[in-house]
């Protein structure tokens, strides 16, 4: 019952954030210098196209009325209409969302598979040469541009070793899986430095805690202590650290999709930028933000479910 109340409270807490996000996305068009419709469509735009854009965004109406219209449309799931494709933006986004979700989920799994063992190794051999090497990973990794890592992975695993496809998303589940490996590894490698650093610190705190000292005093092997006593805590920490960095994870997918020509919403956003398709750029920004809010919410709920010490009141 307390958990249910916690879920409801967290849900309510997302409302003002969502409201604020809608304001930012709405006001984006008003940042466009000069006449937004003319600037966005470029100097070769016809008067008809400019008028259509002005009408679509209601740029001739007072600001508050424009915002109310925007919110009214959002409430009906209407994300605006694409000028370039001449279809609803929501239709475009929903068609491209699966590839992005595949990427986010598989990158998360890969990031955990890489960083948890490395963090455990570093923490359990604190001060050793291995620990020093693993601690150096974040220092180097934090400055690596995700798209550059992607290009290097394409060079090695795609073009030289020919292990994975270098672009596209495949036609079936097996194809999706093969195609997602390199993009997911790229995003995971961007996240791994942050995860390793945070997890190593959490693991050290767990290894120094009384119950681990007691387990050690009882004569349990190091392996048993790590596997049975500290990994659950590592899982809890992983969830929290992931939650904190989820916006970074989701943001990385944008450019990584472009490198691998993955038909996700990131590619859609970038294509729409070059097509000057403002409604779609707005729609994708909104969807990315809602995705982050949703994942943050799920992270908090998972954390509360995994760790009974989390304060639910």
């Amino acid at each position: 019952m307390r958990y249910l109340a916690y879920v409801l409270r967290r849900l309510v807490a997302t409302v003002p954030v969502l409201f604020g996000i809608s304001l930012i996305v709405f006001f984006m068009i008003h940042l466009v210098p000069g006449d937004p419709a003319k600037t966005l469509l470029g100097i070769r735009a016809t008067d008809k196209a400019v008028a259509a854009l002005q009408k679509s965004f209601g740029l001739d109406k007072p600001l508050w009325e424009q915002y109310l219209d925007f919110m009214g449309r959002l409430a009906h799931g209407d994300l605006g209409r694409s000028f370039f494709y001449n279809v609803d933006a929501s239709e475009l986004v929903s068609g491209r969302l699966p590839a992005t979700l595949w990427l986010v989920v598989s990158a998360t799994v890969l990031a955990l598979l890489i960083s948890v063992p490395l963090a455990v190794l570093a923490a359990s051999r604190r001060g050793s040469a291995l620990d020093q090497v693993i601690r150096a990973v974040p220092l180097v990794g934090l400055g690596m541009p995700a798209f550059w890592v992607g290009i290097m992975l394409v060079l090695v695993f795609g073009l030289k070793l020919r292990l994975f496809p270098v672009s596209g998303f495949g036609d079936d589940v097996a194809g999706h899986l093969r195609s997602i490996v390199l993009p997911a590894l790229t995003v995971a490698l961007a996240l791994t430095p942050i995860l390793i650093r945070s997890l190593r610190t959490s693991m050290i705190a767990v290894l120094d805690s009384d119950y681990v000292v007691t387990a050690r005093a009882k004569g349990l092997t190091h392996r048993r202590i790590i596997l049975s006593h500290t990994l659950r805590n590592a899982a809890v920490s992983s969830v929290t650290v992931l939650g904190v960095n989820v916006a970074y994870l989701v943001g990385s997918t944008l450019v990584v999709e472009r490198v691998f020509a993955l038909p996700g919403i990131g590619t859609l956003m970038l294509d729409s930028i070059f097509n000057r398709d403002f409604a779609v750029v707005q729609a994708v920004t909104l969807v990315f933000a809602v995705m982050v809010v949703a994942i943050n919410l799920l992270t908090d709920l998972a954390h509360a479910a995994l760790d009974p010490r989390v304060e639910l009141s």
Binding site: M28, G143, M144, P145, F147, V250, A289
Partner: protein, 285 residues
């Protein structure tokens, strides 16, 4: 994990200007960054090639024959573009962090000190801005504002100030309860003087340390925008656009895309070492 070092002890951070006690990490980072900055500043002395001069008769030449890293598809010297690219990316990266640092720091300082509705509203705005992924918002803003250096500064400022506001506010919340702050308040000093002379020097260290890793993020954003064709306008050399151009020749001339990326990694490493070195110095590991 951040340890609870007492703010009174911390009060000697940057404020007391004690001699810079080097540790190996900080020294390595400063040396690496110094070398990069020197290479960027003295680029004309290190290469005689013009980074934007095109010569199609020399396109895609291998390293050698006077071109240390060969030439690109337009016959431009890659080494020269790399050095002049450092000028662009380091300058824009550092300047792009300055505005968020000042604006976010000032807002965090006031919010932490005053509390009340200002703090409440500011923190809700922070929650909203951090909910939108950094790259998504920066790219969307640069699109709305039009590509170019000015737009990059504005976009990074609009997105980046939140981190500084959070950090400084958190530090002020602790510092304002310390004896020196209570004493300053009790002595009837004006608020601006308490904030600028007493609190700011004691809370700015964390924001400064963060700014080192933030410059990395800022350079990554600039390079990413350059890669996407939304960054520093051509033909100004920029590491991101160099990687984007080199990608087309990845199979035959892999170094065209690899080398500018390595330059970004080395810059990131230098700044990360400096940040780590400062953390060690302040005893906050």
């Amino acid at each position: 994990m951040t340890t609870a070092v007492g703010p009174v002890a911390r009060g000697r951070g940057l404020a007391a200007r004690r001699p810079l006690r080097m540790n190996a990490t900080l020294a390595a980072g400063l040396a690496l960054l110094g070398a990069l900055v020197l290479a960027a500043v003295f680029a004309p002395l290190l290469t005689s090639w013009d980074p934007i001069e095109q010569d199609l008769s020399r396109s895609l030449q291998d390293p050698g024959n006077g071109h240390l890293l060969g030439t690109d598809q337009l016959g431009r010297d890659v080494f020269a573009r790399l050095l002049y690219g450092a000028r662009t990316d380091l300058r824009v990266g550092a300047l792009a962090v300055l505005f968020p640092f000042l604006i976010g720091g000032a807002l965090g300082l006031v919010a932490g000190w005053r509390g009340g509705w200002f703090d409440l509203v500011l923190m809700r705005v922070v929650d909203i801005v951090v909910a939108i992924p950094f790259f998504v918002l920066v790219i969307a803003l640069v699109f709305a504002l039009g590509s170019g250096t000015r737009s990059i500064y504005i976009a990074i400022t609009l997105v980046g100030w939140v981190a500084y506001a959070r950090i400084v506010r958190g530090e002020v919340l602790v510092a304002k309860e310390q004896e020196y702050a209570l004493a300053a308040r009790a002595s009837g000093l004006p608020t601006y003087r308490i904030l600028l002379r007493h609190l700011l020097p004691n809370v700015v260290l964390q924001a400064f340390v963060f700014s080192m890793s933030d410059i990395v993020l800022s350079i990554l954003a600039i390079v990413t925008l350059g890669y996407l064709g939304l960054g520093v306008p051509q033909p100004t050399p920029d590491w991101g656009s160099m990687i984007q151009e080199g990608q087309a020749f990845i199979f035959t001339k892999w170094y065209l895309a690899a080398v500018p990326g390595l330059a970004v990694v080395i810059t990131g490493l230098a700044l990360a070492l400096i940040a780590d070195g400062f953390v060690h110095r302040s005893g906050r590991r």
